[in-house]
Structure formats: structure tokens, C-alpha cells
């Protein structure tokens, strides 16, 4: 079957020496990044090793409940990440709830679609398929949702007087927020569209490269990559729409008021 060169820990340690170049650059050019380089590198090693061990255990146990648990933890982290990337937040539960909810709905829907139609693993919850798929979709949906929400909140804050002027002529909130909603949707959508256009020419996707390195036929690897890209595009579209429309709703009320008082601005960072 598939043949690939197994890496030893010594080989990885050798590659890690490259980081010393970055550290040296930081010291010589006084970038002040030394500490962050070390912390990020250590985080990466610890996180990836943990994920490897968890996946290995999951594959052995093959319990649907454990798979669901891991999925819940992944969505939780994605939600936190979406929250942490925003300068402005909704007050209360919606501060992280909106991001979590829209990403969870989008990623689960799209992953279920792929598992139910294209891949059909047996059993369907087989973690070897469910978890990597969800991870890919979730990561990219996260980017779209964060960008879209950030743009929505920034542009409504910035265009407050224009939005209210429109409300004052008797326009409903949907009309007054239309420009901001469209701007936010575009901001969230564009990275995915650009990624589709550039893939294979400018950059070889990491997942496809990984499969090829692991001995998969290039054409088969390409098929997987295409599937993933379509899933990502669909997931981003759904998650972004949920987040932006949900956000627009939270920014207004039943009396068609612009409720910027429901936002808090995080200072510093």
C-alpha cells in the first residue's frame, strides 16, 4: 500500500534549528520577537503532538461520543479564536455566542454533507474522516466569520450618522444597513475566492502536499483537495451569512433603532 518515509525525532530537531535563524534575526535587527518565537514554537510542538496522540487514541477507540466531544472542543476553540480576533464585541453572551453558533452550524452542515455523500466512511463517525474534515472547514470558516463580523461592526460604527439619517427618512433597518451588510459579506468571502484562484499555481495546498508525501496518487490527492475547497467555500458562505445577518439583527431592534450601545470596544489588546 502507501509507502512513505517515516520521520525520526532527530530529523525534526534538525529542521527546528532553522528557527535559530529567525531568533538571530530578531536579536540582530532588534525586532523584539525572540520571546514570541520561542513561545509560538513551543505551543506548536505541544499542540500538534497532543493532537497526534488524541487522534491515535480516537482511531483505536472509535467511539461516537468521544468523536462528538472532540468536535465540541474544536468548535469551542474556534469560537474563542473568533472572539479574540475582534476589537469590538457584542455585550453579554452574544460576544462569543454569535461566532460559535454560526461557525458550528456551517462547519457541521458541510462536514455532514461530505460524510454522507462523497466519502461515506464506515462507520460514518469514523474519526479518521470526520475530524480532519471538520478541522479544515472550521479553520477557514473562522477566517470568513471573523473578517465579516469585524467589517460589519467597524462599518456600522463608522457610518452611524449615515445609517441614522436613512432611518430618519422612515427607511427600515434592513435598508439602512444594506451597504454595511454587503461590505461585510464581501470582506468575508474574498479570501476564499482568492484562495480558489491561486491554488495550484501560486501555492500547493498543504493537505494535498501531505497526501502526496504520504504516497497517495497525485490525481487522487487533487480530488480530495477539490472536495475540501468546495466544502470550505460552502462552509464559509453559510457561516458568514449567519454571522453577518445575525450581527445586523443584534445591531437593531423592533423599533428599527441602531443599537451601538450593544457593542463594547476592547482597548489595547
Amino acid at each position: 500500500m502507501a509507502s512513505y518515509v517515516t520521520l525520526g525525532y532527530g530529523d525534526i530537531a534538525l529542521a527546528a534549528i532553522l528557527l535559530c535563524v529567525n531568533a538571530a534575526l530578531s536579536a540582530v535587527m532588534q525586532l523584539g520577537l525572540g520571546k514570541r518565537i520561542v513561545i509560538s514554537a513551543v505551543r506548536m510542538v505541544v499542540q500538534l503532538t497532543t493532537v497526534g496522540l488524541v487522534l491515535k487514541a480516537l482511531f483505536v477507540v472509535q467511539s461516537p461520543w468521544l468523536t462528538v466531544l472532540v468536535i465540541a472542543v474544536m468548535i469551542g476553540f474556534a469560537g474563542y479564536e473568533a472572539y479574540a480576533r475582534q476589537d469590538q464585541h457584542f455585550t453579554g453572551l452574544w460576544s462569543w455566542g454569535l461566532g460559535v453558533l454560526s461557525m458550528a452550524v456551517a462547519a457541521l452542515l458541510v462536514t455532514a454533507l461530505a460524510l454522507g455523500t462523497a466519502i461515506r466512511p464506515d462507520p460514518w463517525y469514523h474519526p479518521q474522516y470526520a475530524i480532519p474534515l471538520l478541522g479544515m472547514v472550521l479553520g477557514n470558516t473562522l477566517t470568513g466569520v471573523s473578517l465579516g463580523l469585524e467589517r460589519l461592526l467597524a462599518s456600522t460604527t463608522q457610518k452611524r450618522s449615515a445609517i441614522e439619517a436613512r432611518l430618519l427618512t422612515g427607511a427600515p433597518m434592513q435598508t439602512a444597513l444594506k451597504g454595511c451588510v454587503r461590505e461585510a459579506m464581501r470582506a468575508g468571502m474574498i479570501p476564499t475566492i482568492n484562495a480558489m484562484a491561486a491554488t495550484g499555481v501560486v501555492a500547493l495546498p498543504g493537505m494535498m502536499t501531505g497526501q502526496i508525501l504520504a504516497g497517495v496518487e497525485p490525481v487522487d490527492a487533487v480530488k480530495y483537495q477539490l472536495l475540501i475547497m468546495f466544502l470550505i467555500a460552502g462552509g464559509t458562505g453559510i457561516g458568514l451569512t449567519a454571522a453577518v445577518l445575525g450581527g445586523a439583527r443584534l445591531l437593531s431592534d423592533d423599533r428599527h433603532r441602531l443599537r451601538l450601545d450593544r457593542l463594547t470596544l476592547r482597548r489595547g489588546g
Binding site: S161, A165, L168, P172, A176
Partner: protein, 201 residues
């Protein structure tokens, strides 16, 4: 008639007032005393407790969109959502005529908003509000950025609106203006009227 019953929100109120059709209530007071917040609350732009009635119809019984056309608020610094003024009007011919009455030359209506003077923008925002023939007008310093001649034109228009039957709440810093408009004057201090207005009426 526009009636405010115990209207209150963050930083102002409770406020009771009655403004009869064809009359003007001038609200005076220091910066930060709550004048703008009061007008925003009447226009239903900010949540507020208490009640507003237009000709005995409670605000809550009307959709907010309809209320804002009938009770038109013109902020001191009005906003614009399109590139030129003319795009903000439903009936271009009617608005051209209104703008002309207020001394705004016709060419200004097609120029980019940023190129207009503060005074032109202020008067065009008034035109934008008047196109719905509102029953009540909430004007926040409508002549603040205007010279003597255009101030006179705007005050003439306000008087015309009152003659038409509109009730006007006017925020102003000019005592003389309140006299020229024959307005009842009340002073707002720390968000409250320092003396009750027309409470008997």
C-alpha cells in the same frame, strides 16, 4: 399636537411637555444638558421610557418607520448615505423647489456632499425632512452654521411649516430666534426642564 409624558432615558428626563399644532417650543440650555438626547429619544432613535403622542396617537401604536416620517428630526450634524444630495430625495422637483426657497442653488444638489458647505448641508437636511410634510419637526440648531440672510430664509420656512399646522421643537442658543418665531421657551438643566411647560394644557 405632540405630547411628551414622562419621557426619560440615560442622561435626561423625565420630561413632560405639550406642543400644540402650529406652535413652537424652544429648548435652550448648556452643551451636554441633554437637548440632543431628548430630540433623539422623541424620534425613537434611542430607547427611552415614558410616552410620546402625536395627535393623541401613542408612539408605540405606530411603526417606527412611520413615526419618523411624521415626527421628523433634523440633527445638528446630519448624515448622508449617498454621494450627492439629490439622491436622498424621493421627489426631486419638490425638493429642488424647497431648496430654492431656502437659498440653496440648484447646482449644489448634484455636487458631492463633501464639497458642500456646512450651511448648505444643514438646509438640504431640512429639505430631506420636509419632503414628507411631517406633522412635527424636531430641529437641532437648524441655523447654527448659517449667516443672517439664510437664517432668515430658514426661519421663514419654519414659520410656514407652523402655519401649515406643524408643531416644532427647536433646540437653539439664540434667544432672539425664539422671539422671532414666537416660541415658548424652556431651559433644560441636567436633562430636566427647570420649569414645567404648559402643564395645564
Amino acid at each position: 399636537m405632540l405630547a411628551l409624558n414622562g419621557l426619560n432615558g440615560p442622561g435626561f428626563g423625565p420630561i413632560d411637555a405639550r406642543v400644540a399644532s402650529g406652535s413652537c417650543l424652544a429648548v435652550m440650555g448648556a452643551s451636554g444638558s441633554g437637548k440632543t438626547r431628548l430630540l433623539r429619544a422623541i424620534a425613537d432613535l434611542d430607547p427611552a421610557a415614558g410616552n410620546c403622542l402625536l395627535n393623541d396617537t401613542p408612539r408605540a401604536s405606530l411603526p417606527a418607520t412611520e413615526w419618523r416620517r411624521r415626527v421628523a428630526y433634523v440633527p445638528a450634524e446630519p448624515g448622508w448615505w449617498a454621494a450627492t444630495a439629490i439622491e436622498h430625495f424621493l421627489d426631486a422637483a419638490m425638493c429642488r423647489e424647497l431648496a430654492d426657497r431656502l437659498g440653496v442653488e440648484e447646482a449644489a444638489l448634484g455636487r458631492p456632499i463633501e464639497e458642500l458647505s456646512t450651511g448648505e448641508r444643514q438646509r438640504l437636511a431640512l429639505v430631506r425632512a420636509l419632503q414628507f410634510e411631517p406633522e412635527a419637526l424636531l430641529l437641532d440648531e437648524p441655523t447654527g452654521p448659517l449667516d443672517a440672510r439664510t437664517t432668515e430664509l430658514v426661519e421663514g420656512e419654519i414659520r410656514d411649516q407652523m402655519r401649515r399646522g406643524a408643531c416644532v421643537i427647536l433646540v437653539t442658543h439664540e434667544r432672539a430666534q425664539t422671539e422671532r418665531l414666537g416660541a415658548d421657551v424652556c431651559t433644560i438643566v441636567a436633562g430636566r426642564f427647570d420649569s414645567p411647560v404648559n402643564e395645564a394644557g
